[in-house]
């Protein structure tokens, strides 16, 4: 039930945003976080929960580097 998917904000209209998921456009509630077109966001049950940080693509690499430092 806690499934959430990441998509890209196409447009924002007040507290609603249109989010693209692999080409499918879905209306989502945007009252929990500030978003702008182009943002990559995490959507759960029709509601944007968070904006993904820009360096997400590098995260896995960083994650392992961090692991080595911490452990």
């Amino acid at each position: 039930m806690c499934v959430a998917l990441s998509g890209k904000v196409v447009s924002v209209n007040g507290r609603r945003a249109t989010v693209a998921f692999s080409g499918n456009l879905v209306e989502a509630e945007a009252g929990l976080v500030r978003v702008k077109p182009g943002d990559r966001v995490l959507v759960h049950a029709g509601c944007i929960l968070q904006v993904l940080s820009e360096d997400e693509g590098r995260e896995l690499e960083e994650l392992y580097r961090e692991l080595e430092e911490v452990l």
């Binding site: 039930m1 806690c2 499934v3 509630e29 976080v33 029709g46 929960l49 995260e59 392992y64 452990l71």
Partner: protein, 346 residues
């Protein structure tokens, strides 16, 4: 990554039991075949991470009763439709004339309520910390638009008290794969008191196979240490989404909640504040859990006391086609995921 895989495959240290408490993790662990990549000394067990699975029959019975009222429609996520109360499921009730609609988002309820002011809509508000802010947004919109024919029947639960229950009453867990999307809302700091109190590591994990493997690796290496590590930093921060936390606090307050297999756990639920009682469809006191097949061992599966494959009905009488318990019905249930992915007892 190769080193991580080799470490996990060849690990020969003391036995480690790690629990995930998120249904989406349960599904991904099975789907990605992660147990097969681990040394026999590393055991992954599923905890009470599927909100549908932990829902008690009194709540389901109340939904069934509501949908049979002539002017009421029950709105729900799909998974809840097939779960039986003490006698019937929402699907059974719908076949008998009850009014039930499945929605993708609680926000879709607003349009229905607006267009049909003479009908009462009740959303089956089940979920953990991830979903509670969505219900808060729904109430905020209903309030601002003056919509009076929309209510919630809540069965909202929170993670820390049930993890505390597992550690106190059952034990045998050496670390927790902390739920990624719950943590988006709560922040990773919510696990710190539990980590300190029980001397256990908590690692917040994403949902890709590599992310889960990295978290398992970290938990094995951190065995015996009290530490909270966030490995899902693209969306999880230490403090979480504070706007969402405020929205939830505005509408809901903590309460005791009944969990299948664990009974009532103090402070583990959320219920509408008295000032918003007009949005409540009768959520208080729905604590009874009875009437299901006595041979069904969902209650033990949910606490990680046994693996799904240890239930005598698993895979024969109880399959996704003929489910006997909620853990085989929900796509996030342990039994369902063990079955469809051919996961063994490990």
């Amino acid at each position: 990554m190769t080193d991580v895989r080799a470490f996990l495959r060849d690990y020969g240290g003391p036995p480690v039991r790690l629990m995930e408490v998120c249904g989406t993790h349960t599904a991904q662990i099975a789907r990605c075949g992660i147990p097969g990549m681990l040394s026999p000394a590393i055991r992954l067990i599923s905890g009470p991470g599927c909100p549908v699975c932990v829902t008690v029959t009194a709540y389901l019975d109340r939904l069934v009763a509501l949908c049979m009222e002539p002017d009421t429609t029950v709105l729900t996520f799909g998974d809840l439709m097939r779960v039986r109360g003490s006698r019937r499921s929402l699907n059974d009730a719908k076949a008998a004339g009850g009014r039930v609609r499945m929605l993708y988002s609680p926000m879709d309820a607003l349009k229905l309520a607006r267009e049909n002011p003479g009908r009462l809509y009740v959303f089956a508000a089940v979920g953990f910390e991830t979903t509670a802010p969505v219900y808060a947004m729904l109430l905020e919109r209903a309030e601002s638009e003056g919509i009076g024919n929309l209510k919630l029947l809540t069965s909202l639960k929170t993670m820390p008290p049930v993890i505390e229950w597992i550690c106190t009453n059952q034990g045998g867990v050496d670390g927790f794969l902390a739920p990624g999307h719950v943590s988006v809302i709560t922040g990773s700091r919510i696990f710190k008191p539990l980590s300190d109190r029980f001397g256990l590591p908590f690692v917040v994990a994403g949902f890709e196979g590599e992310q889960i493997l990295a978290a398992v690796y970290a938990l094995v290496r951190l065995r015996g240490k009290k530490k909270v590590l966030n490995l899902y930093r693209s969306v999880v921060t230490e403090r979480g989404n504070e706007t969402a936390q405020q929205a939830v606090r505005r509408y809901f307050e903590p309460c005791g909640a009944a969990w299948r297999g664990m009974g009532i756990i103090p402070g583990s639920g959320m219920i509408l504040r008295p000032e918003y009682a007009r949005f409540d469809a009768g959520s208080a006191g729905l604590d009874e859990d009875r009437g299901f097949d006595a041979r069904c061992l969902c209650a033990k599966v949910l606490t990680g006391a046994i693996a799904p494959t240890s239930c005598p009905m698993f895979g024969c009488e109880c399959t996704p086609r003929t489910p006997r318990g909620a853990c085989m019905i929900s796509q996030e249930g342990s039994c369902y995921n063990y079955f469809v992915n051919g996961r063994g007892p490990q």
